[in-house]
């Protein structure tokens, strides 16, 4: 049976409008389908679009919806900078990060008030906090699956490939089919598998 005393902490991050919250809900629904306890915390700024967004998903017996600092087993991010932002705060030593490499520049960078770190700087930063960092061009894989918006499913596939969660591919697909129409489910399943296979091939 399910062992709820083992707690797995995941963060999904991105920019408002990319689907991080939706992804976290898919994870939580899939956890429930498999009979686990689950808590989900959504954090979003005031902006509907364009702000930093992250969601904590905690599988197992927990009470607080948000994990502590240095407690995340994995961070998956639909945008590189947002992955770094939450990764630095929440990833535990030895935790894993899966980062989509396609940046979404903040207005602060556009107007020249801040500098966007290069992908190699981001990778380096993750290594300095003893994290396993995996980069993925999820934006291209999502296009290959048939819809640029399926970035979240690519990254989600990558997370399941890490094999750190008591959640199967099938439960994720069941959760998807409870939310979406069949055509959308097919695209997202394909995106999921592309992400899954890619991460499997590099770890």
């Amino acid at each position: 049976m399910n062992n709820n005393s083992i707690v797995t902490n995941i963060i999904v991050s991105g920019v408002g409008g990319q689907g991080s919250i939706l992804t976290s809900h898919l994870l939580a629904e899939a956890a429930l389908i498999e009979g686990h306890e689950v808590k989900l915390a959504e954090t979003f700024g005031a902006a509907t679009r364009g702000g930093s967004v992250y969601a904590h998903v905690r599988v197992g017996e927990v009470w607080a919806p948000m994990m502590r600092e240095d407690e995340a087993d994995a961070v998956i991010s639909l945008e590189p900078l947002e992955g770094l932002r939450v990764g630095l705060k929440f990833l535990k030593p030895g935790g894993s990060a899966i980062i989509n490499t396609h940046p979404w520049y903040p207005v602060d960078v556009t107007v020249g008030r801040a500098k966007y770190p290069s992908i190699s700087t981001i990778i380096d930063a993750f290594r300095k906090i003893n994290a396993n960092i995996h980069c993925i061009d999820a934006t291209s894989l999502a296009l290959e699956a048939g819809d640029s918006r399926a970035v979240n499913s690519v990254v989600l596939g990558g997370l399941i490939a890490l094999d750190i969660l008591p959640i199967t591919r099938e439960s994720i697909f069941t959760a998807m089919s409870e939310k979406w129409k069949e055509k959308l489910v097919r695209i997202n399943e394909k995106a999921f598998d592309l992400g899954f296979d890619y991460i499997k091939s590099i770890i």
């Binding site: 939580a28 902006a47 509907t48 030593p93 602060d108 801040a114």
Partner: protein, 649 residues
């Protein structure tokens, strides 16, 4: 149809705290539900609206919180169960009625849900609304989980009927906007027979002045408080677990969730007394006296201000018990600002227990250094947001000259982002009486920003200060106009005060999730209804200068702003264009047609001043992000060298 309208009893679902509260109301057989949207409470009534037609109860978005509260109270007086949900700031709008209704009481179960926002994720203050319960002498329940949120809401209706008073359920962002597993229960109703009786149980029951008069009704209410105190000592939501050592942790709401984590983290299970308070006001005193007597040290964990802590100090003093209380007053092991977290509670508990936490300074130092690499992501308006055009036009209409200091007063809605500033950029301050600042982006444009409806009245005071070197502007959205700007507008007309009021009418209550409002053309049950035109309202209130413009047309909008501010009296400009997100949702996103001609672009950055997130700037040239651009055409209008071009189809 909504997922919580009709799931079978016993089913387990992942529900948002707000959905769990909605389900609790459904299981209690609620008949009338009202609210004005306010983050983080909006999904409660949003969910109930989606269930109302299937389940046969009435739900509405009301024009503001005061109206909403009174509509629901009216239903309760008729003997049916009713609920109002609001955010902390919304509670302030109902305070007049909230302080008076306990004198006459309620009949059908009445539940007021208040969702506070410790940490001010979405709010203009961090107020602790539980104090309203203490002020008004009402029972306050505070759930620690989504499951309990559902159960407490359901029970609150029954408590309300038993006590004949409103019951407050206090939520917080981390409950309302977090999800957990909730087991669905049966729908049960009230046994009460609806109807209206003027002298129900007491003379002139629903009239605070009717004999025996206001003081007599106050005496009735204070007597009810003794029943509330009896009730809270009996209910399951207050629990005391004894521990083996004379130390207790007493917590409520989300504080209880963090306390459970902290006790596990510090391996104190069974060692500490664990007291879970479900009723922060009033406290279950009979249950708590043995805790005070048996413990030498007590840590109080509550999100917000020290309500439980101060009541415990009073109780200990009354009973002559000497116990060391730790919390937010006195030694202050927890802060009075910000939200609680497990980390904060772990370190507070460690202090109380004199435990040393593992030292992770080296890792912290590495992280701090790396954090410097992470640029902020300031909040922006959306690509193609009509408000960008309105702000551009107002900026162009401001009088020039250093000695002139116009004041632009903000209000609450998406357009308040013009007051958020750019993250990490804190302006230098000085002590000069009057300074004019230039503002390149729309995001540091607003000069004042507080609460709904405040801008239009602040502008009048500024205009009446006798300082004539400025123009006095106020902005508000359509939903905010109907919520609380109309009295301010009447005041300006009546007193003849010269202000310029810009209504950014985008047809929706966008910021809280695109709820309908009187400018939408739909009622809250999604039926077509007439739009209440803001220009007609303004005209009927006596405004003599009214212009309606399209904020995508920057030149036209700018000219209208100039004419309005030159008008000798209160003037109104209505910048009308539907919220671009709603247009995209309905019509889908078109292929981007706008691009920058690299040969023409001089890299002057004028376009960046529009503040549109679709405009990029790399290698000294502007660009357009095709994923974001909605072809609104505003940037093309402001480019001084016509380098931004729209491809003709």
């Amino acid at each position: 149809m909504n997922k919580v309208s009709n799931p079978p009893a016993g089913k387990k679902m992942v529900l948002l705290g707000n959905e769990a509260i909605a389900r609790g109301a459904i299981e209690a057989g609620v008949k009338v539900v009202t609210a004005y949207p306010g983050t983080p409470s909006s999904e409660i009534v949003e969910t109930l609206l989606e269930c109302s037609q299937d389940l046969g109860f009435y739900a509405e978005w009301s024009v503001n919180e005061k109206v909403s509260f009174e509509v629901s109270i009216g239903a309760s007086l008729m003997g049916v169960r009713a609920l109002t949900a609001l955010k902390g700031a919304g509670l302030n709008v109902i305070m007049d009625m909230l302080m008076t209704i306990p004198y006459t009481g309620t009949r059908g179960g009445f539940v007021l849900v208040v969702a506070d926002d410790p940490g001010a994720h979405y709010s203009s203050n961090e107020q602790d609304s539980r104090f309203a319960a203490q002020w008004a002498n009402l029972l306050c329940l505070e759930p620690e989980s989504q499951q309990e949120a559902k159960e407490m809401t359901k029970a609150a209706f029954e408590f309300s009927e038993r006590l004949e008073l409103p019951v407050i359920v206090r939520s917080a962002t981390r409950l309302s906007h977090c999800s957990g597993v909730v087991e669905i229960g049966n729908i049960e109703g009230s046994q009460m027979e609806p109807g209206f009786n003027k002298h129900y149980k007491l003379p002139f029951r629903w009239n605070v002045y009717g004999p025996p008069g206001t003081e007599g009704k106050h005496i009735w209410q204070l007597n009810q408080l003794t029943y509330i105190r009896e009730l809270v000592d009996k209910i399951k939501f207050n629990q005391v677990e004894k521990g083996s050592s004379p130390v207790a942790i007493i917590s409520s709401g989300m504080g209880t969730a963090y306390s459970r984590e902290a006790v596990r983290e510090l391996k104190q299970n069974g060692n500490l007394w664990f007291v879970k308070i479900g009723t922060p006001y009033p406290l279950p005193e009979e249950k708590l006296i043995p805790v005070l007597q048996n413990c030498k040290k007590i840590l109080v964990v509550e999100d917000g201000d020290p309500l439980i802590e101060t009541q415990l100090r009073v109780l200990a003093q009354q009973k002559g018990i000497s116990v060391k209380l730790f919390g937010k007053t006195g030694e202050g092991v927890l802060q009075l600002h910000g939200e609680l977290t497990t980390d904060k509670v772990v370190s507070a508990l460690a202090k109380v227990l004199d435990l040393k936490l593992p030292n992770d300074d080296a890792r912290k130092a590495v992280k701090t250094k790396l954090e410097a690499l992470v640029p902020p992501r300031s909040s922006t308006l959306c690509a193609g947001c009509p408000h960008l055009g309105s702000y551009w036009a107002i900026k162009k209409a401001l009088i020039s000259g250093k000695e002139n200091v116009p004041v632009v007063n903000g209000d609450i809605g998406c357009y308040e982002q013009a007051g958020y500033g750019v993250k990490g950029v804190v302006p230098e301050t000085n002590e000069l009486p009057s300074v004019r600042y230039s503002s390149k982006l729309p995001y540091d444009f607003l000069d004042t920003l507080h609460i709904m409806g405040s801008g239009i009245s602040l502008a009048q005071g500024e205009a009446r200060s006798g300082i004539e070197t400025g123009q006095y502007w106020a902005v508000a959205g359509d939903s905010t106009f109907f919520h609380s700007c109309m009295p301010g507008l009447v005041n300006a007309v009546w007193n003849g005060t010269k202000i310029t009021f810009v209504v950014m009418d985008n047809s929706w209550t966008s910021m809280t999730g695109h709820q309908v409002c009187p400018a939408t053309g739909l009622n809250p049950r999604n039926q077509t209804t007439k739009i209440i035109p803001i220009e007609d309202v303004a005209k009927s209130l006596g405004i003599e200068f009214i212009e309606v413009v399209d904020p995508y047309d920057l030149a036209e909008t700018g000219e209208a702003m100039k004419r309005a501010s030159a008008f000798d009296g209160p003037s109104v400009v209505i910048a009308r264009r539907e919220c671009v997100l709603q247009v995209l949702r309905r019509e889908g996103k078109q292929q981007p047609k706008t691009s920058v001609d690299n040969d023409r672009c001089t890299g002057c950055k004028t376009c960046l001043q529009l503040g549109c997130p679709a405009i990029t700037f790399n290698d000294k040239k502007a660009g357009i992000d095709g994923l974001l651009c909605v072809n609104c055409g505003m940037c093309a209008q402001i480019c001084p060298v016509k380098a931004i071009v729209e491809e003709k189809a």
